[in-house]
């Protein structure tokens, strides 16, 4: 099966065949490499950084979108990721690739945001979320109207953070295992192990959900 979003590298160690895509390369049609643009951006050339933004923004948005459904928030987090990258360009190691570094910033930022939201709910003394814990039998179950994307997102929320990242980057965004390793700063062996575990967890969660739906349908009958 061809990968919809090919990786950012043309390295030979990728286990999957990839399609050619300008977004996947270190340079686009202009022929300017990421390394050169980064170098110019570090000297204060914001236009060079602008080219980097235009080159990566769609993929960054797609990755963040996998973690949260709110489009406006996705755009804001994308902005924030690029701003943080711009602020930290001095810390970037030019001998390494810009793409994984940028995606690492974006993923970390996204998780920071999700944790903050979760923590805010956890420590709140008074929360309104508890009012609807008991479902009203008169109202229709909102889960019935969920489309596939929402259902998969709900199931993926059950997968622990560490494994979810690998699953999203590899199976949904088409990063190679070496790229996922670069983004998460882990070895490829670790990524392969986590990938296998992540797929098992997703399968288990998906089957649990299907069983609960079948049980509900049989109860309705």
């Amino acid at each position: 099966m061809p990968i919809r979003n090919p990786p950012m590298t043309d390295s030979n160690d990728d286990l999957r065949s990839v399609d050619e895509d300008p977004e996947s390369m270190d340079s686009d049609h202009s022929g300017v490499t990421d390394a050169r643009l980064v170098d110019e951006a570090r000297r204060g050339n914001t236009d060079a950084f602008g080219q980097l933004v235009l080159r990566y923004e769609r993929r960054v948005m797609r990755v963040i979108r996998r973690f949260m459904p709110d489009d406006q928030l996705v755009q804001d987090l994308t902005q924030e990721a690029f701003l943080r990258a711009f602020d930290r360009l001095e810390q970037f190691d030019p001998s390494r690739r810009f793409g994984p570094w940028l995606f690492r910033i974006a993923v970390n930022l996204t998780y920071d945001h999700l944790r903050r939201v979760k923590r805010r709910g956890k420590w709140a003394l008074f929360s309104e979320t508890g009012q609807e814990r008991t479902p009203d039998p008169e109202t229709e179950d909102p889960r019935i109207n969920l489309d596939l994307s929402q259902e998969v997102q709900m199931v993926m929320a059950d997968v622990p953070e560490t494994y979810r990242t690998v699953l999203i980057l590899r199976d949904l965004e088409g990063f190679s295992t070496s790229e996922v390793a670069a983004v998460t700063e882990r070895s490829e062996a670790t990524i392969r192990w986590r990938l296998a575990e992540a797929r098992r967890m997703f399968r288990d969660a998906w089957e649990r959900r299907e069983r609960s739906l079948e049980k509900r349908d049989s109860d309705d009958d």
Partner: protein, 187 residues
């Protein structure tokens, strides 16, 4: 190959993440194990669902964040994004109140456990009596009821140099204490 090893490889093979020799090993195992064949089929279905989700999701393709990023770069990031809030540390009233209560409780517990300062004694303690003199002797002040403290040990006041009790003012009161030495001799 054990089924547990085969299933680990099945998780990888459904995404084409196995090496060539691993793929052969999985195929051989699936040929002989019906349970793992069923497991593999379920895994393929789950991956199919995941790939459907991958292909279904669409984003607004014509949205670019560069204009906003550029504006914020030139303005020194003074303009925050509309929905995203910079992380800010703020006081949580409930947590602060909880900490204050804990501190007060700890303080009260410490104060209650402190030893009471009884250096100023207005009345004699139980083991002392007031010597008013008599029998031709001068008043001796507060004196201990006995110079023995039981079991042959010296009484606490005998180690205190502040109280000097003349021997002639000692007046045994009550039942005389039998020294430990004489008790042990009875055995």
């Amino acid at each position: 190959m054990k089924c547990s090893d085969a299933r680990h490889l099945i998780h990888l093979s459904v995404g084409d993440d196995t090496l060539a020799d691993e793929e052969v090993a999985v195929a051989e195992h699936l040929h002989t194990c019906s349970e793992c064949r069923a497991y593999n089929a379920g895994m393929v279905d789950a991956m199919h669902t995941l790939h459907q989700y991958r292909d279904d999701t669409t984003l607004a393709q014509d949205v670019s964040v560069w204009a906003a990023v550029e504006r914020r770069i030139h303005q020194g990031r003074s303009v925050p994004a509309s929905g995203y809030q910079q992380p800010q540390r703020q006081f949580n009233g409930g947590v602060v109140a909880l900490c204050a209560c804990s501190l007060v409780l700890a303080f009260v517990s410490i104060v209650q456990s402190l030893p009471v300062n009884d250096s100023i004694v207005s009345t004699p303690p139980a083991n002392y009596q007031i010597d008013f003199g008599g029998n031709g002797s001068a008043p001796g002040g507060i004196v201990p009821v006995s110079n023995t403290y039981g079991y042959g040990r010296p009484a606490p006041w005998q180690n205190q140099q502040q109280i000097v009790v003349p021997q002639q003012l000692m007046r045994p009161v009550g039942r005389p204490v039998v020294p430990m030495q004489s008790k042990t001799q009875n055995f």
